[in-house]
């Protein structure tokens, strides 16, 4: 039994290290937050957005802060940046009802009608990804994985006890659910990021110059898929049929 205890301790330490790697000390500037809130209350929305941006520059990254940025930009009349920050907030707090409400309102102001695109299969396969934030899914994948191998170790050491079997099955299901989702999210962030049009009108061209033919025009707040970046231009896809190049500064990557 002393050997079992040692192995359990080993797994717990490993798990603890894993969790410790995710968490981190919160930092930031309370003064900037207070200034931002005050400016917002007084109707100085652009200044409020600047103050909140300072917090981001200092390393603060969380759903509530990005939500506040979305609010400030929306009130300041910058629909593109408002949608961009709301979309970024969704990655952290997808179930925040305030965020969902405000994002829906912002989306209703977007001029371009959404066209059906691809991603149906992934949408079906990872239908739950909108219920949890990215970090929650990653954490769930790691914890499930940890408990899966902990249960397997216990089964090996202590014999085939029913409780360990149940733990192993539950952990296996959870691991199979969350780990591919987390991997898919990393893949999307690395290879298929999404972006939001920031400018009021953004011409999408056939090539990487102002002389290239203007294929179509997108408007502030429209969400697109970012496919490539080159020479100050970004290749975007609004739908499978509408693809082109757009100036980099007209777009924000989520």
């Amino acid at each position: 039994m002393s050997m079992i205890r040692k192995l359990v301790l080993l797994f717990i330490v490993a798990g603890g290290l894993a969790v410790a790697g995710i968490g981190g000390a919160s930092g930031g500037n309370v003064g900037a937050l207070a200034e931002g809130l005050k400016a917002y209350d007084e109707g100085r929305f652009a200044e409020a957005a600047d103050e909140f941006q300072k917090l981001v520059a200092q390393g603060a990254k969380n759903g509530p802060l990005f939500y506040n940025l979305g609010n400030a930009y929306l009130k300041a009349g910058d629909l593109g940046r408002a949608v961009l920050w709301y979309e970024r907030a969704v990655k952290y707090s997808p179930r925040d009802p305030d965020l969902r409400f405000n994002l829906a309102h912002a989306r209703s102001l977007v001029q371009d009608e959404k066209e059906s695109g691809g991603g149906v299969l992934t949408g079906v396969a990872f239908f739950w990804k909108g219920l949890l934030g990215e970090r929650s899914i990653q954490l769930a994948a790691l914890v499930s994985n940890f408990f899966l191998f902990l249960a397997l170790g216990l089964l090996r050491l202590a014999g085939r006890r029913q409780v360990f079997k149940g733990l192993a099955v539950a952990a296996l299901i959870s691991t199979l659910l969350f780990t591919p989702t987390a991997l898919y999210q990393f893949h999307r962030a690395e290879f298929d990021p999404e972006g939001v049009i920031l400018a009021g009108e953004a011409p999408v061209r056939s090539g990487l110059s102002d002389q290239a033919a203007e294929l179509f025009v997108l408007h502030a707040g429209t969400k697109v898929e970012v496919q490539d970046q080159r020479d100050g231009y970004v290749r975007i896809a609004f739908s499978p049929e509408k693809i082109g190049w757009i100036k980099k500064d007209l777009l924000g990557v989520i």
């Binding site: 192995l7 490993a14 290290l17 894993a18 995710i22 930031g28 809130l37 603060a60 209703s108 170790g153």
Partner: protein, 580 residues
């Protein structure tokens, strides 16, 4: 009969002398009102005809054909442009000389005289009676006011069979128009002749005062002309008058109705108080509250209903000024308007949610609506009475604005559920708690993979260690089991080699202690092993015992029973010590 047909064909197109290369001709020169003629302009080569000088005729349709001729090896090209014309009046009309732009310059056709008799021609009548097919346009009011809805009807009368009928689209410049979807089909008798009638109705709304002409309605169709085998034979009775079986033919024709003149009158100036609502027709106006008293914080629904016949869809929202302590929220108006043969009929309901902010009695304004009644040719003002709303002290709760309609007189259990709709749109406020400052360490893909692979790696390594530990433990255990087994056999007395078994037990016990496997050891090996894994004293003790045991075993004498038992006991003690 063939000669007669040939003569008719010759007469069908009467050639008119013309300038070289361009020729104009018509298929008939005598017309009755509603009938049409075909003007054909033949051009050698390419050319364009300017028909703008045609003042006495309307162009119903046009077409063209081109032909190539090769005579004596010489190829020539000719073009024929055809126009179906409808006369605009009666009497002697003229198709003027039409300029034709050709390769040789502009050439003019020769003018053609056309006679339009005020009465139908004998050819278009059955036995000199009423015409076979004709169109008639009527309007419900020839002198409507601006905004007054009138009904324009186009009736197609048919006493003979027609095929491929196509009614040209009617346009009504200066009017709003909407066709009543249901067309009427019925039969009627005129001058003793039975007609099938199709009646189309349009609801028109004059936009500006002035004189206007409506129509004409134009019908393109093929007239079914009886062939030579007409009569009441059994064949005809069986197949009816189908042109295919009766030997008849289809003759393309165009019929048009006369135009209808309309004089739209301006609305007279409104004299006196009140504000014109823009409605023209006949309307009712009423207001009602769904409840006479509410708690502060709740709301009552105030409905303004305008109902009647006319341009009801143009009714605008009545003004409801906010009073002190009474919040007013308006809802989208409800419309229940239908289009029938008499025009637009229906009602429009404007609802307001009244939310008292404090207890007391409130009065709704005495709303007034002024419309123009064309029958009375005057403005009519309708006024609703002010209604009283009592606000009782209520619980401290937020005002809930109910915007959707309630049933006019809700009974218990009915109309209690109401759809809540947005009055305005805005976003929810900022977040100001500590979570706004959180800045968790980002989890990079590399770190994620490391953490993800750590448990399986540890699992594999731990398994290998466990297997190694397990292996060592097995050697010791196996040798200990052998030692005890040999000792047990020696002790039960059934073996003849009790001393040999004791020797094997001690060697196995030493191997167990040294965690190795083996069958035989020398005295030196025993001493060295035990000195290493236990103590040198124990090694010396076991070595001495083994020397004594071998001395008794191989001494050449038979040991006594007590001596054997002593050795067995001593062996048990050593095994116990070594295999502990």
């Amino acid at each position: 009969m063939k000669r007669l047909a040939l003569a008719l064909l010759i007469l069908l197109f009467i050639p008119i002398p013309s300038w070289a290369g361009v020729q104009a001709r018509v298929d008939r020169v005598d017309l009755a009102p509603g009938e049409t003629l075909t003007l054909a302009v033949s051009i050698d080569g390419d050319g364009e005809v300017d028909i703008s000088p045609l003042e006495d005729f309307s162009v119903i349709s046009r077409g063209s054909s081109t032909s190539l001729n090769i005579v004596n090896g010489k190829m020539s090209r000719s073009q024929e442009l055809r126009f179906v014309l409808a006369p605009k009046g009666t009497g002697a009309l003229v198709i003027p000389a039409l300029p034709v732009k050709t390769d040789d310059g502009i050439v003019r056709t020769q003018p053609i005289q056309i006679r339009v008799s005020p009465n139908p021609t004998p050819q278009s009548r059955a036995g000199g009676g009423a015409p076979d097919v004709f169109l008639r346009a009527v309007v419900s009011e020839n002198r409507p006011f601006v905004g007054q809805q009138i009904i324009f009807q186009l009736k197609v009368f048919r006493a003979v069979r027609i095929a491929n009928a196509n009614l040209q689209d009617l346009t009504f410049p200066g009017f709003t128009s909407k066709q009543v979807e249901d067309q009427k089909d019925y039969t009627t008798t005129l001058d003793g002749r039975q007609y099938a009638v199709t009646e189309l109705s349009f609801v028109l709304g004059p936009l500006d005062p002035g004189r206007f002409e409506l129509g004409p309605g134009v019908l393109n169709c093929d007239l079914v002309v009886q062939g030579r085998r007409s009569g009441n034979s059994m064949f005809d009775q069986f197949f009816g008058n189908d042109p295919f079986f009766s030997g008849g033919r289809l003759e393309p024709r165009v019929f048009q109705s006369e135009k209808v003149e309309i004089n739209v009158l301006p609305l007279p100036p409104l004299i006196g108080p009140g504000k014109f609502s823009g409605l023209v027709g006949r309307f009712d106006f009423k207001t009602e509250l769904d409840q006479a008293s509410v708690n502060v914080g709740d709301s009552a629904s105030f409905a303004v209903t305008i109902e009647g016949q006319g341009n009801i869809m143009d009714a605008g929202k009545p003004e409801f000024p906010e009073s002190d302590g009474l919040k007013v929220y308006s809802d989208k108006p409800e419309e229940d308007i239908s289009l029938g043969s008499g025009g637009y009929v229906g009602k429009k309901v404007f609802r307001f949610a009244l939310a008292p902010g404090k207890p007391g009695r409130y009065l709704t304004p005495a709303l007034e609506m002024t419309y123009f009644d064309p029958e009375q040719r005057a403005y009519v003002a309708k006024k609703a009475q002010a209604l009283e709303l009592e606000a009782r002290p209520g619980k401290d709760k937020e005002v809930q604005v109910v915007m959707s309609p309630a049933s006019p007189s809700p009974t218990a259990g009915e109309g209690l559920k109401r759809k809540v709709e947005f009055i305005d749109r805005d976003i929810l406020p900022l977040k100001s708690d500590a979570s706004v400052l959180a800045s968790p360490t980002p989890l990079s893909p590399t770190l994620f993979f490391l953490l993800l692979l750590s448990p399986p790696f540890i699992f594999v390594v731990a398994g290998a260690i466990q297997r190694r530990v397990s292996h060592k433990k097995d050697s010791s255990r196996i040798m200990a089991e052998r030692a005890w087994s040999a000792l047990k056999t020696a002790a039960d007395g059934r073996s003849s080699d009790q001393l040999g078994l004791c020797s094997r037990a001690v060697v196995a016990a030493v191997c167990s202690k040294a965690d190795r496997e083996g069958e035989a050891l020398t005295y030196m090996e025993i001493e060295q092993l035990l000195s290493t894994c236990a103590t040198s004293e124990l090694g010396t003790e076991v070595k001495t015992f083994m020397e004594r045991l071998d001395g008794v075993r191989y001494g050449g004498r038979v040991p006594e029973r007590s001596e054997i038992e002593d050795i067995i006991n001593r062996t048990r003690e050593l095994v116990k010590t070594l295999c502990r």
